[in-house]
């Protein structure tokens, strides 16, 4: 086996990434905050915090609660907004040592479209990830990503704006993610990413108050890994565009589980907080694993779960 070179590149839409190990939206800021302790050039991509048209202050505190092998957050999409993002971040991305994927969120379909239109022309952005786990204020606050028609229409409109890779980030808070995944595939999405956080809650039994200012929040971390794997496996059976997997990954072994059930790339989220070099270490670990197993390319692992008849 030995030191054979292995090919870890991955293609999403018309863009090639040198590594399939990325860092997830909301857990790596705008890509600069961890540079003291993470060599970002070794990551396949950095996905930014969700950007919205206007700056958002976010939800009332507290916003973070630890749970069994996981955490809840109710950040509420706190971000600097489109204008400051364009002015302050885009220039800094010109020499950024790896690919930047901008994650976009909105309260209305128009908001997504406006933000994408504004950002699409910038060459320093490699791709876009659309956070469909946001409440749609036009439809009574129901989440975009639970409605296949809405998801189809929005994706089609977004597709018309850019030829850059369009990744749709599905919501896991759904009876089955397959229908929406198929809808966005049909509408021209280049990939789906999953899973976002699961709706969760915690209560302070001393004060009888919710432990999050927003009452409910999103569950992430190792606790949700089994759910992420099952949803990805389900979607992998049915869709043909690449899946970018995430949910509780904190080691190379976790990442390999995701590849085996059908992920073409993975994102590291909560683990960045716990151990910032996680994604970097998984990148090295993956190469080592492939060398040891004599796997020439990622295609030799992706979806290769052995299921008996």
């Amino acid at each position: 086996m030995g030191n054979r070179t292995v090919d870890t590149h991955i293609q999403i839409g018309n863009v090639t990434f040198h590594s399939p190990i990325m860092v997830a939206s909301g857990t790596f800021g705008y890509g600069f905050e961890y540079q003291d302790v993470v060599d970002v050039s070794r990551l396949g991509a950095v996905i930014t915090k969700s950007i919205t048209r206007e700056p958002r202050a976010g939800n009332r505190p507290p916003r973070i609660v630890e749970t069994a092998a996981g955490m809840l957050n109710s950040i509420g999409l706190a971000n600097i907004g489109l204008q400051r993002f364009v002015e302050e971040m885009l220039p800094r991305y010109e020499n950024y040592p790896t690919r930047i994927i901008v994650n976009i969120a909105g309260s209305t379909p128009e908001e997504y479209l406006t933000v994408l239109e504004a950002l699409a022309p910038y060459p320093q952005i490699a791709a876009f990830e659309m956070n469909y786990s946001c409440p749609n204020v036009k439809e009574g606050g129901i989440c975009f990503g639970v409605d296949a028609n809405l998801s189809f229409n929005l994706t089609q409109a977004l597709r018309n704006i850019t030829s850059k890779p369009l990744i749709i980030k599905l919501t896991p808070n759904i009876t089955s993610p397959v229908e929406v995944a198929l809808a966005v595939q049909e509408a021209g999405a280049d990939a789906v990413s999953m899973i976002n956080t699961l709706v969760g809650m915690a209560v302070d039994i001393r004060t009888w108050k919710p432990r999050l200012g927003n009452i409910t929040g999103g569950l992430s971390g190792p606790a949700i890994k089994p759910i992420a794997l099952a949803q990805i496996w389900q979607v992998y059976q049915e869709v043909s565009i690449p899946i970018i997997g995430m949910g509780g990954i904190s080691s190379v072994n976790d990442a390999i589980e995701f590849f085996l059930v059908g992920a073409s790339a993975v994102q590291i989220g909560t683990a960045n907080f716990v151990h910032p070099p996680t994604a970097m270490e998984i990148t090295s670990g993956l190469t080592r694993y492939m060398q040891e197993k004599g796997l020439a390319s990622l295609q030799d692992i992706i979806g290769k779960l052995k299921v008996e008849a």
Binding site: D36, P61, G70, S250, F273, H275
Partner: protein, 260 residues
């Protein structure tokens, strides 16, 4: 300001109270770079639960030894696991993080006001101060309080139950002390939100500058998760881990903070 992720050995462990320990770590880059008010994020252990790092203020530095100290109070799961570590064991430390106490020009006396384990960063501040200072240390009862020999002459105590020092809240002790000091003074406070709100109130009323070191539940500690907001008087939020933990008291919307 750069920060580091280091695996640091515990080089000294002492018990400060029955539920509080002092842990000295060797960690050259952190010991050299740290400024009073900054904190570190410790990984509790290399397992999936408890998951998140815990924040601890740097309570003293010793550059010759390339060492820094934290003071850990047994509160919940994470702090208990950390304080059971012994000399020689290693912990994963991220730091130094956050803002530091700022020098206030032209003051004669610094009043360092600590509530409970909030006392920790004030010792580091005292180490570096070039003006006279008093450390006012308040707690519920004497079992929560302790003194460090090098600062003892400057320390004054108060307890809610009167078991040590003046009986009452640390704001009472602050007001009393303010009457004694002559010349310009400034307040540097760390402790529970309620206490900081009260201290900031006293400072505002008496017109003296006040800096507060705040707490909030944290996930990242480095400004990426947006998990640690405190309300800004101007609207919106400041983030404890990157804009703080030390803020000018007048920047914080204490009313909103304390009510929810």
């Amino acid at each position: 300001m750069p920060y580091y992720q280091l695996t640091c050995p515990i080089i000294r462990k002492t018990h400060l109270t029955s539920g509080t320990v002092s842990l000295w770590f060797r960690g050259p880059q952190i010991a050299h770079a740290a400024r009073p008010g900054q904190f570190v994020m410790l990984r509790v252990r290399n397992e999936v639960h408890p998951l998140l790092r815990r924040a601890f203020s740097i309570s003293r530095c010793n550059p010759e030894e390339e060492a820094f100290e934290i003071m850990v109070q047994a509160a919940g799961t994470g702090s208990r696991i950390i304080l059971e570590h012994e000399e020689g064991e290693m912990l994963d430390v991220l730091g130094p993080l956050g803002s530091s106490f700022q020098e206030v020009e032209g003051i004669q006396t610094a009043l360092l006001v600590g509530g409970g384990i909030g006392i920790a960063p004030l010792f580091f501040l005292a180490q570096t101060l070039e003006v006279d200072y008093h450390i006012l240390f308040g707690g519920r009862s004497h079992s929560q309080l302790f003194a460090l020999p090098e600062f003892e002459p400057q320390m004054r105590f108060c307890t809610e139950d009167g078991s040590l020092g003046q009986k009452g809240l640390v704001t009472d002790l602050l007001q009393k002390t303010l009457q004694e000091v002559s010349g310009k003074a400034a307040v540097f406070a760390c402790g529970p939100n309620q206490m900081l709100a009260a201290v900031a109130g006293v400072a505002e009323k008496t017109g003296i500058p006040c800096q507060v070191s705040m707490e909030a539940p944290m996930a990242c500690g480095v400004g990426v998760c947006m998990g640690c907001p405190v309300p800004d008087v101007k609207g919106g939020y400041r983030y404890v881990c990157k804009d703080g933990p030390v803020f000018p008291a007048e920047m914080i919307h204490f009313k909103q903070l304390v009510n929810g």
